[in-house]
């Protein structure tokens, strides 16, 4: 009787899993610590989300505190600072993404074109170094560089510009955060693209050269398509944390004079939750960020699947 060939994937999941487990038991064994870690530190604490819906009192505990439903969410969305927080968070995040995503790609492409190995290694090391400096030190350096007597104003004076107290000017604050973030991470983030570049089949370059492509056209037709999947995956993942801008650096650099452009959800949560002790309200704000981030991630993943055929799932 003619029939379809037996498709092993049609077997029940448990059977397939058992077979896979037998074949790759070592890999599964290695996976266990990571799964346990994620379960303990990411799933068990999730029950704490409950405090976003409660008038949380540490003395009464999470379950014992009074249930108040969506009151914290209402207070947040109708709060006087909500529009400003939303605007600042989105602006710094989008600005950071627009600058932060292409730059490591460009750096990786440029480094890829450097043929002198020692020079290339030196460049790579220099570009990675800021990543290993702690945020506190970075902020100290920034304060020094951007002060009235600092490096930037010294350069400005040489060009005949009047000095500016950069960290006192709300207009400069998002740029300071974004560009200093780029300085810190561009080298490090380029590593993954360097890795993607090294996986591109060299025969493609050879074929392109035979077809008469110069270096620029090789980059356009071979290199960039080769790293687009990595770029898209990182972009999709990044969308999930669009509301999670680096608030630790902002906290170290901002002040009342720059709240107007620098106060974001993360800093607000820190001020109200940690300093003010309103954990329930802060949990509600955080939950909002996470839910919106998650929805954005799904949306971007769907768009990407439809347009580039690249997606997380």
């Amino acid at each position: 009787m003619p029939g379809k060939a037996a498709d092993p994937y049609q077997k029940p999941l448990w059977v397939r899993f058992r077979k896979d487990l037998r074949q790759h038991y070592l890999a599964y064994l290695m996976l266990i610590p990571a799964v346990v870690l994620i379960f303990i530190f990411h799933y068990i604490p999730m029950y704490g989300i409950l405090i976003a819906f409660k008038n949380y009192k540490p003395k009464l505990g999470i379950l014992g505190s009074q249930w108040i439903g969506l009151e914290h969410f209402r207070n947040f969305f109708t709060g006087v600072f909500f529009p400003r927080l939303l605007r600042n968070t989105l602006w710094i995040s989008i600005y950071g993404s627009v600058i932060g995503y292409p730059m490591p790609v460009i750096l990786a492409l440029l480094l890829n074109e450097v043929t002198h190995l020692r020079y290339k290694k030196v460049l790579q090391t220099i570009s990675y170094m800021p990543y290993f400096i702690s945020t506190v030190v970075i902020c100290g350096m920034l304060k020094s560089f951007l002060s009235y007597d600092g490096l930037f104003n010294a350069l400005g004076r040489m060009l005949g510009n009047p000095p500016i107290s950069y960290l006192s000017e709300p207009a400069y604050f998002p740029s300071i955060i974004v560009w200093s973030g780029l300085w810190q991470s561009v080298g490090w983030n380029s590593i993954i693209y360097m890795s993607a570049l090294s996986n591109i089949d060299q025969q493609l370059y050879e074929a392109a050269r035979i077809d008469g492509c110069g270096r620029l056209r090789q980059a356009w037709h071979v290199t960039i398509p080769g790293i687009i999947p990595t770029f898209v995956i990182l972009l999709i993942l990044g969308m999930g944390s669009i509301f999670a801008v680096d608030s630790s650096k902002i906290l170290l650099l901002y002040g009342p004079q720059t709240y107007e452009t620098g106060d974001v959800f993360g800093t607000y949560v820190y001020r109200i939750g940690i300093k003010g002790g309103e954990f329930d309200f802060s949990a509600a704000v955080d939950l909002c960020q996470t839910v919106v981030g998650f929805l954005l991630l799904i949306l971007v993943n769907w768009i990407s699947r439809r347009t580039t055929e690249q997606s997380l799932w």
């Binding site: 009192k57 540490p58 003395k59 505990g61 709060g79 006087v80 600072f81 304060k143 002060s147 009235y148 007597d149 000095p163 107290s165 960290l167 006192s168 002040g255 009342p256 004079q257 709240y259 107007e260 106060d263 001020r271 109200i272 939750g273 940690i274 300093k275 003010g276 002790g277 309103e278 954990f279």
Partner: protein
């Protein structure tokens, strides 16, 4: 015969027992027993240069010998304080003693929630501490001696125990008790040599200050005539805001009416802003004042670039000693509070003698509250206080024939500021009685005085200038709330503060025109100052009434 022998033996045994009992030492009043308690406290900044942990500190090693109690210290970084405290609260896992914990629902709720021990419950086993906070006339420290004895005596503060008492009549902390020596700990320092060169007298009024700033600005582009604290107000001492009759700090109370510290919307604030903005735009004020950190201000002062520097816990001599620049005439002086007119009364003067400080709160949930209270009380004994202030008997101090402690020659010969003092004397943030001799020693010793050595306090001298002719009538003190009152007050206050501080900064720096002042102030008032002020006023009224019932004049000052 046997009976006689037995009788003799019995008599001998009895004599031995009686003799032993008679010869036995009196039990040490500080001895508590073999216990272990934990203390969550940061290390005094300079102490970290010499010790890894307070348990290594000779004072605490001595305390261990005297009390038998082992203290396990948990030192946190200052900037981690709030985070660690909130984590402690939420994990319900506390140390036995907590340094200056800021419970967001206020001290009363901390006691109600079982986080702070009501110290009154252990009143009977804390005789020394309660003598210190209730004697009212300063007699607790009657061992202080010498010409400065009156200065080093405890500040007479009849309401001190009341300051530590909540609205429900419970005591929420064990506080440091201070001497009366300092009128205030903050004020301005000025380049005296620059004043002399300009032929100007020490400024005492806003008008005179304006002339001084102009003269300092004329010294060159690199010179910053005056720097200011970050929000644009002198929260270090009120030496400039006082002229405008307000004080930028939390709340203050004027004629029984509670006001937000920044005098939201009031004409006095507007006048201050107009003057400040004028100075800022003329280049008289540090253009980076909003971002400049303390170390950077210090660097300006020590590199001949700064004329006037608001500071706390320092003295002109301290910076003169640190100065390594080229100017042989480098000289600083403490500035008196700036007034609008020479005869203006100043009503803001905050000093440690009139308020609680460096508090140690006891957590009752670990079952060690009694041991903690006894240990803290031991730190208020005369022996512990003298050990804390004078060091080791026979080495750094001896008693004279009148029973007065005084420092030995050896101590003076070996003394170096910020060095020996930290090995011998109690760390500055630890509770106990603070007579300030030890604090003086951290700064400078004047060995030029003939005869019995005394400590010349530059710090005290600066404080005297800063606090001259001022009282503390506007100081609101520690207002405690019942139930949810604190939280109800704090949230609208924070909202208004967040908005107003930023907007006032724009006015101060001239980015927003002063004509917007009323509109901005009204917004802040509606945003939360109004509501929070009313709640603070109500709580203050209750506390004020209780103080009156307690037989005390709760108003500070005098």
């Amino acid at each position: 015969m046997k009976k006689l022998l037995a009788l003799v033996l019995c008599a001998m045994t009895l004599c031995t027992l009686i003799g032993s009992a008679a010869l036995a030492e009196e039990p040490d009043e500080m001895w508590i027993g073999d216990h272990t308690i934990s203390w969550w406290i940061p290390m005094d900044g300079k102490t970290t240069q010499y010790f890894e942990d307070y348990s290594e500190h000779p004072f605490f090693q001595w305390m261990h010998e005297k009390t038998g109690v082992t203290v396990e210290f948990y030192h946190y970084a200052i900037e981690q304080k709030d985070t660690q405290l909130q984590l402690m609260i939420n994990s319900d896992n506390y140390y036995d003693m907590l340094f200056d914990p800021w419970y967001t629902d206020g001290p009363q709720n901390a006691i109600n929630d079982g986080i702070f021990q009501d110290i009154y419950e252990y009143r009977d086993i804390m005789p020394h501490y309660f003598q210190a906070v209730t004697c009212g006339d300063g007699s607790y420290s009657d061992w202080e001696w010498g010409e400065e004895a009156a200065l080093y005596r405890q500040a007479p503060q009849p309401a001190f125990d009341f300051l530590l008492t909540t609205v429900q009549g419970q005591m929420w902390t064990v506080s440091q008790v201070w001497t009366d020596a300092y009128t205030t700990e903050c004020g301005g320092l000025i380049r005296q040599d620059w004043l002399d060169e300009a032929g100007l007298e020490m400024p005492t009024t806003v008008e005179e200050l304006d002339k001084v700033l102009e003269a300092f600005a004329a010294r060159g582009e690199d010179v910053i005539p005056m720097t200011m604290d970050e929000p644009g107000f002198d929260y270090s001492g009120g030496w400039l805001c006082s002229a405008y009759d307000f004080f930028y700090n939390w709340y203050y109370v004027k004629d029984g009416v509670v006001q937000p510290g920044n005098a939201c919307g009031q004409p006095c604030l507007k006048a201050y802003i107009e003057q400040f903005s004028d100075w800022f735009n003329k280049g008289y004020i540090d253009p980076d004042f909003m971002n400049r950190e303390y170390a950077s201000k210090e660097a300006l002062l020590l590199t001949d670039r700064l004329g006037i520097f608001p500071d706390c816990w320092s003295s002109p001599e301290y910076y003169e000693a640190l100065y390594t620049g080229d100017d042989p005439d480098y000289k600083l002086a403490a500035m008196p509070i700036i007034r609008m007119t020479e005869d203006q009364d100043i009503h803001w003067m905050q000093s440690y003698g009139s308020q609680n400080s460096n508090n140690a709160c006891v957590y009752p949930g670990n079952g060690n509250a009694e041991i903690c209270c006894r240990y803290l009380d031991a730190m208020f004994t005369k022996e512990a206080t003298i050990r804390a202030e004078y060091g080791v008997e026979g080495e750094s101090f001896v008693y004279d024939e009148n029973g007065h402690p005084y420092y030995t020659e050896w101590f003076y010969e070996n003394y170096k500021p910020n060095d020996l003092a930290y090995s011998y004397l109690r760390p500055s943030n630890v509770v106990g009685y603070v007579s300030v001799r030890a604090y003086d020693l951290r700064q400078a010793v004047d060995t030029s005085i003939e005869g019995q050595k005394t400590v010349s306090s530059d710090w005290f001298a600066a404080s005297s200038v800063w606090g001259a002719n001022a009282d503390a009538d506007y100081v609101i003190g520690y207002v405690t709330f019942d139930d949810t009152g604190w939280g109800d007050m704090y949230t609208p206050y924070t909202n208004a503060e967040t908005y107003y501080t930023a907007e006032v900064l724009k006015l101060l720096t001239g980015k927003t025109d002063i004509s917007e002042f009323e509109t901005i102030s009204q917004t802040a008032w509606d945003m939360g100052y109004h509501e929070s002020r009313d709640l603070m006023q109500a709580a203050y009224n209750v506390q004020h009434q209780q103080a009156a019932d307690y037989g005390m004049d709760y108003q500070f000052g005098e």
